[in-house]
């Protein structure tokens, strides 16, 4: 850079700074604080706090359209990465919505907060040890028995069972908010299976990319070291080196499934469901394509009561029968230990200050929201006497017993009858209720149409147990409420999330100390492939290949150079294509009467299970269960195809161009898989699915279009369908003739679209897969694949009969079935564990 340019640059910067200051002043003027409520951005004097003014000075220097561009970038990233959550009762995922401004927390302030959380995590660990162990706190009157016994999370089957790995809490989270006194207050403890850490990671990734320069200049500590410490600590908890660790998820219908997949991929753990696991030899094992493999640690996202139908909720299908017994035998580490959720009971909150003095010899560093448990007479009387001033909550879980509300019940909002009912309920069974102080928590700025607006928020802070004490994630999961009371915020209410930046006061001198952005640490998925994942990969491959075949048929039927020229022969060819589409469920029998609609129907009818749209959606559904194994690019391609196909098309031309574009995307997905997917067993199953489906379809096309009397036109269609026009023409320089076409489509093992090529590839894959053989005999999939391959190798095109083609197709179908039975024994068709009928 020349001197002049440097001068210019400097001048530009100065101008930017002035502009930033001007905008900040404007935002401050327009910011309407909620009356009587503290705010993060503006102090009591109405001036912006230091961290925020640093942030907005820099932020304001960005031109307005630049700001919008970056916000758009963040949104696009979220959409493309497919970050979603699912609200209870939703049948589809909702896109994640992020507030584009981070919550800023000053370093000194953060230090206090994290000290408070550290102390609290340690205290809760000690309380759990006592409750499930010696029971001295209850025996000596420090903790009322009822505050524990009433919780559905007090798990009697694990009483007296020391937690394998030595800890109850591996990951703890607290929901906090800033109270009117300016201190951080604990609103609730999350000890069961805290969610949100994965979303926090995703929020950070998005925001640090969109505002990388700003992020850099604010000296924000990365969150990656926290996750590394957490992972290493779980590893260290196992009783062997190189342990196998699984994230136990309820499945893809779970509201936070995306997060489970994110964590599994980020931490390099296996994503498993209860069905994937089995108890054997007092250990937990995972069903893989190579048989049962020991699993050492389970990071669970399934609630305790659903973990073992034998000893806990008998109706649950999410757990593993016998898991609790394995815990008794010290055979698996479960994080957090089942039963840890008992500490989420609000009934306990009031006792923690005394427990802290007793167990830690210290005062609690962080206050929590004032709570009166009505199981105690004095507290009950207090609550009843101030009923209109407090919020009533359930003592042990979310929801107020006897009232249909997910959040707190406010007596002041009830009618006279409701009010009386509340008084009666608390008088009769006070132990089920707590009264909580109604606290006005602080607000933070959100961006709305170029302006800043204050909104209440709740911050979830995470602590991970490590051998060196508790590690606190610098940052956290912030949810912004649209309503005034932030305590009831859950993502289901349409709330937005925000990234959380801990900001240092000190300007850091050397930028090199700062990593540019939080980078995802790519790790290889652990070496085993669960049978369920293999099953899903197999079907993903098949669905996509079937979609491709359907699109090729659509294209052949609809293209102007295709068989729609009105001659008898072309009518017959069209008839054949339509028949295939009917058999595949892409069009209905009746729509054959209305040829104009056929191509559109086969392309995008949501009612036809075999339409290209339905097939791509099936692929998408299957891919959802594979999130931790697919690259974001691959996921994005599938999403785009599903979107494109669901736009209604008007005329044949747009049908064709949609088909064309989708075919290109299918090719790019295939390319991604080929070039980017790890060559572990997972890729093989995707490819096995694709090859199997392609072999079946090609055999079927050959039978349909290369029958004994087939004319030019049908043979030509076959060459198009199997994408072998160019090869044929370069080889034969002739109009299509039966035997060479058959050879090319079926027997030629050098043609990557031929049946023989697919079967040869299948054989390679099967030979490379781990053997499960118990008798030393050749296994069924291999037996069938080898037989088909030798048949194809020895057949002669001139003597090939249609009935042989038909037999070939049947053999390939048997091969597909044999692969399923052999590698996915607990797939959708297999026998699930059934409950024994109970006695009446």
């Amino acid at each position: 850079m020349g001197e002049g340019a440097a001068e210019q640059d400097k001048a530009g910067k100065a101008q930017g700074q002035r502009e930033g200051q001007r905008r900040l002043a404007q935002w401050v003027r327009d910011y309407r604080r909620l009356p009587g409520i503290p705010d993060e951005f503006l102090g009591p004097d109405g001036a912006p706090r230091a961290v925020w003014s640093r942030f907005f000075n820099a932020f304001g220097a960005l031109a307005p359209d630049e700001v919008e561009r970056r916000f758009g970038m963040a949104d696009r990233h979220l959409r493309e990465a497919g970050v979603t959550y699912r609200a209870p009762g939703d049948s589809a995922d909702r896109p994640w919505s992020i507030s584009h401004l981070p919550l800023l927390i000053d370093e000194a302030d953060w230090k206090q907060l994290s000290d408070g959380i550290t102390q609290r995590a340690e205290l809760l660990e000690l309380v759990l040890r006592d409750i499930y162990g010696e029971g001295r706190l209850v025996a000596e009157g420090a903790l009322p028995a009822g505050a524990i016994a009433g919780s559905p999370e007090y798990l009697r089957p694990v009483c007296g069972v020391p937690p394998p790995g030595g800890r109850y809490l591996s990951l703890y989270a607290a929901d906090v908010g800033r109270g009117p006194d300016g201190r951080w207050w604990v609103l609730g403890d999350r000890t069961q299976a805290p969610s949100g850490a994965g979303y926090a990671l995703e929020n950070r990734l998005v925001l640090s990319r969109a505002f990388s320069d700003l992020y850099k200049s604010m000296n924000v500590p990365r969150v990656a070291p926290f996750f590394e410490a957490f992972r290493d600590s779980l590893r260290g908890r196992a009783d062997r080196d190189e342990p196998r660790i699984g994230v136990l998820t309820p499945g893809s219908f779970s509201e936070t499934y995306f997060e489970h997949a994110t964590l599994a991929r980020y931490l390099g753990f296996l994503l498993v469901e209860g069905d994937d696991l089995a108890v054997s030899d007092n250990r937990i094992h995972i069903r893989t394509v190579a048989g049962l493999k020991r699993l050492d640690v389970l990071l669970r996202r399934v609630d305790s009561n659903s973990l073992d139908p034998l000893e806990l909720d008998a109706s649950s299908h999410l757990g593993v029968p016998g898991l609790i017994d394995v815990l008794r035998k010290d055979g698996v580490v479960v994080a957090n230990m089942p039963g840890s959720g008992v500490l989420e009971a609000r009934a306990l909150l009031g006792f923690l200050p005394a427990l802290s003095r007793r167990l830690l010899g210290e005062e609690l560093k962080m206050p929590h929201i004032a709570t009166w448990w009505c199981g105690q007479r004095s507290a009950r009387d207090e609550v009843l006497s101030r009923l209109d001033e407090v919020a009533i909550e359930g003592a042990y879980r979310r929801g107020v017993p006897g009232f249909d509300s997910n959040g707190p019940v406010l007596a002041s909002e009830l009618d006279a009858a409701g009010h009386q009912r509340l008084v009666d309920a608390i008088s009769a069974r006070g132990m089920d209720y707590v009264g909580q102080e109604v606290v006005r928590l602080s607000t933070m700025p959100v961006w709305e149409q170029g302006q800043l607006t204050p909104r209440p928020f709740v911050l979830r802070v995470f602590a991970a147990a490590t051998p060196d004490g508790w590690a606190i994630m610098p940052g956290g999961f912030c949810r912004i409420a649209e309503q005034a009371d932030a305590r009831a915020v859950s993502m289901g209410d349409g709330a937005r999330a925000a990234d959380v930046w801990v900001v240092s006061d000190k300007k850091v001198s050397t930028a090199s100390l700062l990593p540019a952005t939080d980078k995802v640490r790519i790790r290889r998925i652990a070496g085993v492939l669960p049978s369920r994942a293999a099953d899903n990969l197999f079907w993903l491959g098949r669905y996509l290949e079937r979609a491709e075949a359907t699109l090729r048929l659509v294209r052949a039927l609809g293209s102007p150079s295709g068989p729609n020229k009105g001659t008898a022969a072309s009518l017959q060819s069209a008839e054949r294509i339509q028949r295939l589409l009917v058999t595949w469920g892409a069009i209905s029998q009746t729509s054959r009467a209305a040829p104009g609609r056929i191509v559109a129907e086969a392309l995008q009818s949501p009612e036809r299970f075999g339409s290209a749209l339905s097939l791509v959606r099936s692929a998408q559904r299957t891919a959802t269960s594979l999130r931790e194994r697919l690259s974001p690019d691959a996921w994005q391609v599938i999403t785009e195809m599903a979107e494109r196909l669901s736009y209604e098309v008007e005329d044949d031309d747009s049908v064709l161009s949609a088909a064309e574009l989708t075919l290109q995307e299918l090719a790019s997905f295939a390319g991604l898989a080929q070039e980017n997917m790890n060559r572990a067993a997972g890729w093989r199953f995707l490819d096995i699915g694709r090859r199997t489906e392609r072999a079946i379809n090609t055999a079927r096309f050959a039978r349909q279009f290369a029958y004994d009397e087939a004319g030019d036109e049908d043979l030509d269609i076959l060459l198009t369908l199997v994408d072998s026009q160019i090869t044929y023409r370069s080889r034969y320089l002739l109009a299509p003739i039966l035997a060479p076409v058959r050879d090319l489509a079926v027997l030629d093992s050098y043609n990557p679209r031929s049946v023989a090529f697919q079967v040869a590839t299948l054989n390679e894959h099967i030979a490379a897969l781990p053997s499960l053989k118990e008798h030393g005999l050749i296994e069924q999939p291999q037996r069938l694949a080898v037989a088909v391959q030798s048949m194809l190798a020895t057949a002669e095109a001139e003597k090939l009969e249609v009935k042989t083609l038909f037999a070939l197709e049947q053999d390939l179908l048997s091969l597909a079935e044999a692969i399923g039975l052999h590698y996915f024994p607990h797939g959708p068709n297999a026998s699930r564990p059934e409950k024994l009928t109970g006695l009446a």
Binding site: R156, L310, A428
Partner: protein
């Protein structure tokens, strides 16, 4: 009184079952007016794993694993038990129920016999306002706990219809209560729900009844299967007293206790999962013969 008990549970499966993991709670309790003289369980096919432990409630729990393919499972339990109980008279004087409720909640133990563990909703027994209100009619202010519980038991016996076909194990409590019918298990659950609704500690008891009644007395309802009733903590002095709402009586020497828990889910005599056959036929035969 000494009884010989034979309790045979059979499952017939429509298709072969390749794997079974079961939990058995078949050993009668030892203690509290009952002495276990002998006990033996035979299982066919023979399990590949068997181990016993005491569960939280002190019940001997046997876990078994069967890995051989089978179409029938037969669990044959034989016990010899001596019973000697002296229940209070129905009219006996007892402390006011409110004081029992308050003292129960003050208990400083989470152990299995601590009353505080039995005042809350449990997996099969929710606390429901209508059921609590129903029970409250038996407990006037200051009434003796025994008198109140006897009255509630009597009302359940007379106002509910015994109908083995009306309910299955999964019939929810509110349905049993609304329709006023069910079997011993349902009556026990309803009575427990009512008592807990008032804050009283009530437990669920599973066990047996003698098959042939003493001369001149009617055969008790539920005698040829496993039976269920209610145990209520009646204050420090009286302790746990058992009430049989199906037969409207305070439990004496015709009942043999198998297990005690918060509700059926804690005491289920045979429980488990199998891999193989969704269709299954359950048979239960119980014989309780007076030896001496």
């Amino acid at each position: 009184m000494i009884y010989d008990i034979r309790h045979v549970t059979t499952y017939e499966y429509e298709s072969p079952v390749s794997f079974a993991r079961c939990t058995l709670r078949l050993e009668p309790k030892d203690g509290n007016g009952q002495e276990l003289i002998s006990h033996k369980v035979e299982i066919r096919p023979r399990p590949s794993e068997r181990h016993v432990r005491r569960d939280f409630f002190g019940t001997l729990t046997e876990s078994i694993v069967i890995e051989a393919a089978h179409r029938n499972l037969r669990i044959d339990s034989r016990s010899r038990v001596s019973v000697e109980r002296k229940p209070p008279a129905r009219e006996a004087v007892s402390p006011p129920w409110e004081s029992v409720r308050d003292i129960a909640f003050e208990a400083t133990s989470l152990g299995p016999s601590s009353p505080v563990g039995y005042v809350f909703a449990s997996p099969l027994v929710p606390v429901l306002r209508p059921v609590s209100a129903y029970a409250a009619e038996s407990f006037a202010s200051g009434a003796g706990i025994l008198a109140g519980a006897v009255d509630l038991m009597h009302r359940v016996r007379t106002e509910f219809r015994y109908d083995p076909k009306a309910t299955v194990i999964s019939t929810p409590l509110n349905e049993v209560f609304d329709k006023r019918h069910g079997v011993c298990q349902d009556f026990a659950h309803v009575m427990i729900a009512g008592l807990r609704g008032l804050g009283l500690p009530a437990a669920y008891v599973s066990g047996y009844l003698r098959t042939i009644p003493p001369a001149g007395q009617p055969r008790l309802q539920g005698a040829d299967a496993t039976h269920a009733w209610v145990s209520l903590w009646c204050g420090a002095e009286l302790g746990w007293i058992d009430f049989d709402p199906t037969n409207d009586l305070l439990v004496a020497n015709d009942h043999i206790v198998l297990a005690v828990g918060r509700d059926f889910s804690d005491v289920s005599p045979v429980d488990g999962i199998i891999v193989g056959s969704p269709k299954q036929k359950l048979g239960v035969a119980v014989d309780v013969l007076l030896v001496d």
